[in-house]
Amino acid sequence: MKKILFIEDEMALQKSLGGLLSEKGYQVISAFDGESGLNLAKKENPDLILLDLILPKMSGFDVLEKLKEDPKTKEIPVIVLTNLEGIGDVEKAIALGAKSYLVKAEYSLEEVVEKIKKALE
């Protein structure tokens, strides 16, 4: 069973996306802030990380930077899942090592699940 770490502070998204991913047979680990997300990434060694950018305690950009600095976590693919869509934000996330960048509002729940499925193949 593939393990996904979902770092997102919005409960509704944890329930909907996290819930649907569980239904599809993935093991979903939830983190509601940047700091605990980073700790869980080190502890759980997930197959994929879904990362929001605006998070309490530590921003998504900082989490991404720290994940890529640590030899233990740097190989884990990270999909940035956010509603920030400034050109600068996308470039920054990709430069920091994100595998892809998805603007949440542009996709339906099913479409996001499809993208995650493909990233895990």
Binding site: E10, A12, L13, K15, S16, L17, G19, L20, E23, I54, N83, L84, E85, G86, I87, K104, A105, E106, S108, L109, E110
Partner: protein, 309 residues
């Protein structure tokens, strides 16, 4: 000290150097120096007293300097306001999008029947909610695009194939075309050269024009698309057999938030921003856009975009 670095200051506004207030100030400074020297030589001919000449030149310098300063200052203020407005819209849009995504994905989760069986009538109501939240999302996305087009923004251009973008757009809207039972005809010239534009904005152009041709068409109607090279430009044309635009409304259709009266009858949701955005994008890339339309018969929209970098 950072204010003295013209290049970094101008980069902040994301506009060409020659439009930048600091650069204009420098040029005006040179103009002032030139005017003073010129006035000195001309004045020396007609004014005999060196004291009077010196006062005259000092006064002229002060007037020119104040004038230049106030011009540059007001220009700088305008740019700052425009930048702040764009930043404000981006922040507001992000704040609006977050609860909207929560709403959307929760509805999706319901509709996927992950929270138990739901009745037909409940599905209809949920779909109604979904449609409306989609409309809101469409409006927010367009607001962001308008704010970027109106503000000073950097375009990261690259060589793109208009044909490829067109095919991607058609693929994306295939369901919509089939659902409306429309017949789509394509006439694309072979080996078309690439154009140097920002692909993100060009997708918006083609999506808007195709979306209008679908949305305002009649059942079993027709859409014809042509793409060809015309001199130093690429020519794109889209024709539909839809409701058309009444003659009295035609002069307003590229205006922000304008929606033609006859469209309201069809109750198709829209933002009234698509054509405004489309025109802005085409013009930003040095192109031209136009249309012809006959009410109840259909519309033809075309644009020309230069091939050269």
């Amino acid at each position: 000290m950072s204010k003295l670095n013209i290049f970094s200051e101008c980069k902040k506004y994301r506009i060409p150097l020659w439009q930048c207030p600091q650069f204009i100030f420098l040029i005006l400074g040179l103009v002032i120096i030139f005017s003073i020297v010129f006035t000195y030589f001309v004045g020396a001919r007609y004014i005999q007293d060196p004291g009077v000449l010196a006062i005259f030149i000092c006064l002229l310098t002060a007037v020119l300097f104040i004038l230049a300063f106030s011009i540059v200052n007001s220009f700088e203020n305008l740019l700052s306001v425009s930048r702040l407005k764009s930043e404000f819209i981006e922040i507001i849009s992000h704040s609006l999008r977050t609860p909207l995504t929560n709403l959307n994905w929760t509805i999706d989760f319901f509709l996927a029947k992950n929270l138990g069986k739901i009745e037909k009538e409940q599905i209809e109501q949920l779909q109604f909610l979904k449609e409306n939240s989609k409309r809101m999302e469409e409006l927010i996305s367009k607001m962001i695009i308008v704010s970027r087009l109106e503000g000073a923004f950097s375009q990261s251009n690259e060589e793109v194939s208009l044909e490829e973008i067109l095919n991607e757009t058609i693929q994306k809207m295939k369901d919509q075309i089939e659902k409306s039972k429309l017949n789509l005809e394509l006439k694309i010239q072979k080996n078309l050269p690439k154009i140097f534009v920002n692909p993100f904005y060009f997708k918006i152009v083609l999506e808007s024009l195709l979306d209008n041709a679908i949305r305002y068409n009649k059942e079993n109607g027709k859409i014809e698309i042509e793409l060809e090279k015309r001199g130093k430009n690429i020519y794109f044309e889209i024709r539909d057999s839809g409701v058309g635009i009444p003659k009295k409304d035609q002069k307003y259709i590229f205006q922000k938030f304008f929606r033609s009266e006859n469209i309201a009858k069809f109750q198709t949701p829209g933002t009234g921003l698509s054509l405004f955005i489309t025109k802005r994008i085409i013009e930003n890339f040095g192109g031209k856009i136009g249309f012809e339309s006959v009410e109840n018969k259909g519309s033809k929209f075309w644009f020309l975009i230069p091939i050269k970098k």
